[in-house]
Symmetry: C2
Subunit: 278 residues, 2 copies
């Protein structure tokens, strides 16, 4: 999905909500756990319920890998289902990959190749290994790298805020700046944790037009209106993720309805934010 | 495999060679490519041929993921085969994972859990997201985190050498230092690219006893004797990886014999280095 298609989708749905599919066999409703395809059935119910309010789905790859090959089959079924929908949605492999060039090529193929098992629109990538670890993900037409800049976890403070000597810039700002040479607003987004909403103004000075994937609204404590105040652009420029707050809104048989309610609440807030854009 | 067992294995075999299984369907010998289990058969032949000279095997996970679920089945078969050997070997998931705490837990389970599909001894982890992205990998008894410090690719210069203000230390040194609080020499190793052999002395000052995984001898231009001069310790403290130089030594039917020859050459050099330790 290219940039314009994504913007159109956001305007149509009045939503920039991304639902994180961190689907865990130990957390999904009890009545599903015995099923052969428990995780897929859970995901399908969540997708069906939240689709009216959602522009993107983000399977967290770790939760599928942790169940081994069976888990990845659940991921494939989920992706096949998303591709079968009449309505287009943006898909994110939350995989945090990144390795030397020839290896990143293989990761790009694994997640982005239209003929591969998964065929995601985008993948999250870690920047530590630099340019040749990132650029192999930019070669697929209409697909995206989502580069980690400032994450929402406690460990973000260990390295991401290290000040570069003589530059008055932190590591995450260097990542934003340098990566401008590796891609552009049409094939590169950035992960920026919602718990760092006040940093979004700084970030918007470096990347005024790029889309940001903002995890951590809800369970991780981020506030949507703060995020919008600092990060929303004329073309929206945001995908705001919620995982646990939606998919585990209930652990009973009403889980899908409750997920829809939570997604709907966020979508309404987002519609207001979009309407109030200057 | 714990530290003492690893040291014993190195002393027994007079080798600290790690063979990288970057097995690519487009590079393995033509006569194998049509087989249902081509990659596994290739790996098995390489393992059988190189085992006398090798203490560790390092499947590069990207090369399996790029073939989707079928590729991961080849990985599982390879790991099952390694576990079936009478002779113990150290196994490394070269996966460069790392995410927020609850997600890293899932990655740890995926690769290190003794009841999982793969049951590796260790996994390579990217440090960008800090402490809570790394520590979940340290909880499995006798298993290891191998943290990226200084990599051997061109992109290593983008961020890893950024000097921290007022500290006269680069980012990779900060990673080495700070991670000392997250684990110890019994559960944490570091990736240090062989093309940076002169940096090994600096690194040894920070982590005198930790094992280092050194990729890049051979194809990436590193020199074994330089690596040993700066990195070898009384307990060895090194695992030196070679991938393409061994597994693709020949693309004909003699590929396994040629792989054994290349592994044997490196093992002989390593035996000399171990004998000459002070």
């Amino acid at each position: 999905m290219n940039r314009q298609e994504l913007i159109n989708l956001i305007e149509e749905k009045k939503s920039f909500l991304c639902v994180g599919l961190d689907s865990d066999i130990n957390k999904i409703p009890q009545h599903l756990r015995q099923e052969e395809d428990a995780i897929f059935l859970f995901n399908k119910a969540i997708i069906d319920a939240t689709l009216p309010y959602t522009v993107a789905y983000k399977p967290n790859i770790a939760f599928y890998e942790s169940a081994g090959i069976k888990g990845l089959i659940q991921l494939k079924k989920t992706m096949d289902y998303l591709h079968s929908l009449k309505q287009n949605v943006f898909t994110i492999a939350d995989a945090k990959r990144g390795d030397i060039g020839n290896t990143s090529q293989q990761y790009a193929k694994a997640f982005l190749d239209p003929n591969g098992d998964f065929n995601f629109d985008s993948i999250t990538v870690a920047p530590y290994m630099g340019e040749d670890s990132v650029t192999p993900f930019t070669v697929y037409e209409g697909k995206w790298v989502i580069l980690l800049a400032l994450t929402s976890n406690k460990g973000a403070f260990d390295f991401q805020y290290i000040k570069a000597e003589g530059e008055n810039k932190c590591l995450f700002e260097k990542v934003l700046e340098r990566s401008q040479n590796w891609g552009d607003k049409n094939n590169m987004m950035y992960v920026v944790g919602a718990t760092k909403a006040d940093m979004l103004s700084t970030i918007r000075k470096i990347i005024p037009d790029s889309f940001l994937l903002v995890p951590g609204v809800g369970a991780q404590g981020g506030d949507l209106s703060e995020v919008c105040r600092h990060g929303l652009t004329r073309e929206c420029g945001l995908l705001v993720n919620s995982s646990r707050g939606i998919i585990y809104a209930s652990s009973e048989t009403d889980f899908a309805d409750r997920a829809a309610e939570e997604a709907c609440k966020l979508q309404k807030l987002m519609a207001t934010e979009l309407d109030n854009r200057k």
